[in-house]
Symmetry: C2
Subunit: 567 residues, 2 copies
């Protein structure tokens, strides 16, 4: 049991750890310091404040019962002493002292501690490019940034916005500009897709397409060279050209604030971030750390993992609070669950996406499925796309990602799999996943089950498919040498038959076995239906009849449309 | 590898097993028989057809690409021979023969099989009461019933409907009558709550209240004695009185159709239902069975378990199809996930509810939590109620149930836990559950995490609470002898202070430590806030200051309101 606990950092993890500890040990003394005046805010809400959906910045600082989480609140309601505008400048681990500086007066002081909590958070990664200090160029990390950005918008001086970086925050900011304020918005991203560490190219392109339909432009494979303007930013110069801008938001990731820990000799990860064990204890047993300044274990790869999210900070904070009071709470790690609203759609995932799994050396199989989110006879329903990433060798699930509407249906499937992931599920665990069933909520064979079945069939070599990207290439480059067979009913195939009289063919799946003579045996047969189900059945019929070069379009025409092929 | 597979029953499991097997083994012969003419329909859609949300009965029989799943469809598209209106009358296991009768001609015949699949389904449980054969008294199992019921409604002869049985189908039918057709609807249930095997009394009452607000009346603790009328039903006589009715729907559960299996000497469960192993094989290795005619393993209790749901049938059907083809697919069992839409709300759950867990002899702790489904600062959000059922002795999760809006947010939390259940999760697995986080989808500390934390605190004796039912009793019987302390801000407490000037007291939680003298030490102190969070903090303060009889209202005022206490 500790007597005096000092907490450095008062945004998310710090307050959570402090308050949990005080609840368990009300007589103990807890002192929390923070460099800034504004503490304990929901930074993840910033894009929604900029958008205007959250009307007052204060809403990001209030409890669910509308009390502002300020110094007074922590003192009166939680029994925690807070020193804002106070910086920790050095930790003396031997004496158990934190040396601090009051930033207003410049005075220094020493806080003795029994246990210390490092909740120092992260800093936006800087580009350090010419012109970065121009007015109108922003990083997004505190409510101050948010207020400045929204002020600029509401003053009407922003007609064109540029967001640098197509990660979560970048895309959320782009939506805020374009959706609520009708600002002409361009996202510049160095990679060849949005969210490169989180989504496969296919799903990324579906998300991008949806944002483009809502007015956001994307410049991929593009790097920013400098910002130009006089006093205020007017344009962004990239390796490919010049883009005009009245405001620039840079959101290219964050780095852990681990200097204090480093100087104190605590163990850091190779790539930065404080190393903690499953009790959130650093290499010094008197010092705990958590939130954006630590690395945790990735429960899929068992590798160190940096996952700076408010949800991590809150859950880890409670674990620290418990352990400060002599408890034995554990935080084993994470699988990297995420969700991001993009206008009327959303992307979400957990575990490894195809790209990352391949980079890590897994022999990857991934399948893409488009299916309704509830019973197909239920009147209100929407198509959802899920991609399952499987290790071919063990049939172990490595991850799942999706693109769907902005409701809770798609992320619900992701969360369901997230719960399984740390127990190393196999494909059959997805095939048999027990989704609660009722027509207004799911299909009897839910999309998740069908996705597992599809992976099972693919592993068995029965469902050999290609995704929308490969299809597009195939179509554009090899239209003549391949045989594109639409196996839907004639009414569905008709528009395509008219548009491509030479290259598009139609035999409904149920008629294929009687019309085999119409299908050439010396060409690659590409089977097409609405979502990939009937084309899979057609593939079996052709396999059975001696055709040895048959592939089917995963996700079908519906997948092509989401992905954005103009066919 | 089988050469001729015979499938008895062509609704859900039968077709799934037959088609999966044919895909794996296209050259094999599959014959599927069914007593009825109408096959392969989505029986779970019947209430939505009666409601009119599904406009044509045929929609329950079509694929997602609008092909009717009839005899011709199975022959042409799936390569499966179907004999409708054909009954299996006996199985000769030694000769591997099924004796059948063509119901139209009366002819009998013999179908030899290599492997047999029993997909005989279930039959609605009959009440066998006087008047049950009157016109207008219906059981709900086939599309024919559905058409008859909807015909009666659309003819305008139905002003008053009675539903006997407050299970899933009963409640869905009640909603269909009341919501879409403005029929005065009464549900009669023998138990003292709706869904007694699935929900605790608290959650059941929240669901019931919501249905009452939408015009459905409930007669609980009531048994039907007889139906009366001349030719057509006019009233229902119960042990408590007479209720007028133009139509009656009886939905009091189903029983497995296991006669054929019983006569063939296959192993049955004590309470009925065919026993199968994890490969869905019966006690005869040449015979598989699944769907509504079998019992499976409950993965929480390891006991036999009857779960007649279309989703089970579909998933088990695929397992059977794989194994018929020589595969080794498994269906380990289920935890009993369910969801049911009730007007603009829904109830859902998985595992054991409090009632059932207690009946089974577990030493149960359950906690009830009311919280927003997304970040509290996000503009569109709704309150959700979840109840976690825990084994006190091991802190193992036995189940979770919820009441929420009719969207996917609440059932998403249930499905997330369903994935964990078979791995015997502990409370800490809920506290640390990795819900994908973004303000439009969840809170940084999601309701599921808070629920786990609440159970953890309750197990530790820190959060000692009472639910809405116990609170109501406490309030009504012991208003004077207890001290009811509202620990919200004065503005929230004011209406209650005015209404109950003698019995309601208010000290905001943050002020309690300074105003301890106002709280009597010789009374039970009942702490109240909006959802139970602040009252828990207040409890810690009082504990710390020597008060030894303090309890707090789980779910707070929000929970009382959902539950329906008029305070």
């Amino acid at each position: 049991m500790s007597e005096h606990v000092v907490v450095i950092g008062a945004i998310a993890l710090g307050p959570k750890a402090a308050c949990r500890f005080k609840r368990l040990h009300p007589k103990a003394r807890v002192t929390m310091i923070d460099k800034n005046d504004t503490i304990s805010y929901g930074g993840c809400g910033i894009p929604y404040f900029v958008a205007g959906e959250v009307s007052e910045p204060m809403q990001l600082r209030t409890t669910s019962f509308n009390m502002v989480r300020d110094k007074k609140f922590f003192k009166e309601v939680k029994g925690v002493d807070v020193f804002p505008i106070t910086e920790a400048i050095r930790i003396d681990r031997e004496k158990r002292h934190v040396h601090i500086r009051r930033l207003v007066s410049g005075e220094t002081d020493v806080l003795p501690y029994d246990k210390l909590v490092l909740a120092t958070g992260s800093t936006p990664r800087k580009l350090s490019l010419p012109g970065e200090n121009l007015k109108g160029v922003h990083y997004v990390s505190s409510p101050y940034d948010a207020v400045r950005i929204r002020d600029a918008i509401t003053k009407g001086i922003v007609k064109k916005a540029i967001v640098v970086g197509a990660g979560f925050i970048g895309l959320e900011m782009a939506e805020a500009f374009a959706d609520m304020w009708d600002v002409e918005t361009t996202v510049i991203e160095i990679a060849d897709q949005i969210m490169p560490r989180y989504l496969s190219k296919k799903l990324a392109r579906m998300g991008q397409r949806h944002m483009e339909k809502n007015g956001v432009s994307f410049h991929l494979n593009e790097t920013v060279d400098r910002f130009e303007g006089e006093g205020r930013v007017k344009r962004v110069v990239t390796n490919k050209g010049i883009v005009d801008a009245d405001i620039v938001v840079i959101s290219v990731g964050v780095t852990p604030n681990d200097d204090l820990a480093k100087e104190a000799g605590l163990q850091l990860s190779e790539r930065g971030g404080i190393v903690v064990d499953e009790h959130m204890q650093t290499s010094d047993p008197n010092i705990y750390a958590g939130g954006d300044c630590v690395v945790i274990k990735n429960l899929v790869t068992n590798q160190p993992f940096y996952l700076p999210m408010g949800s991590m900070a809150n859950r880890q904070g409670r674990v620290i609070g418990t352990n400060l009071a002599g408890g034995n709470a554990r935080f084993d790690g994470a699988t990297g669950s995420f969700v991001c609203k993009l206008f009327e759609s959303s992307v979400a995932g957990t575990g490894l996406c195809r790209n990352v799994a391949e980079q890590m050396g897994y022999d990857v199989l991934s399948v893409l499925l488009v299916q309704f989110d509830r019973a197909h006879f239920y009147p209100t329903k929407e198509l959802m796309t899920l991609e399952l990433v499987v290790d071919k060798f063990t049939s172990r699930i490595l991850g799942i990602q999706g693109f769907g509407s902005y409701g809770d249906a798609m992320v619900g499937r992701i969360n369901a799999v997230a719960g399984l992931l740390k127990n190393q599920p196999k494909v059959e665990d997805i095939s048999n996943f027990e989704m609660a069933y009722s027509p207004p909520f799911s299909a009897a064979m839910d999309i998740l089950n069908t996705l597992g079945n599809m992976a099972d069939n693919a592993l068995a070599g029965m469902n050999r498919g290609l995704g929308p990207a490969e299809f597009e290439t195939f179509w554009e480059q090899h239209k003549e040498s391949n045989f594109f067979l639409d196996c839907r009913e004639p009414a569905d195939a008709e528009p395509y038959l008219k548009k491509y009289p030479e290259d598009w063919h139609n035999i409904p799946q149920g008629k294929i076995s009687q019309r085999l003579a119409e299908i050439p045996m010396d060409k690659t047969v590409v089977l097409i239906c609405n979502t990939g189900g009937r084309s899979y059945e057609a593939q079996i019929t052709l396999d059975e009849n001696g055709f040895d070069d048959v592939i089917n379009l995963h996700g079908g025409i519906a997948g092509l449309k989401s992905w954005g092929m103009d066919i």
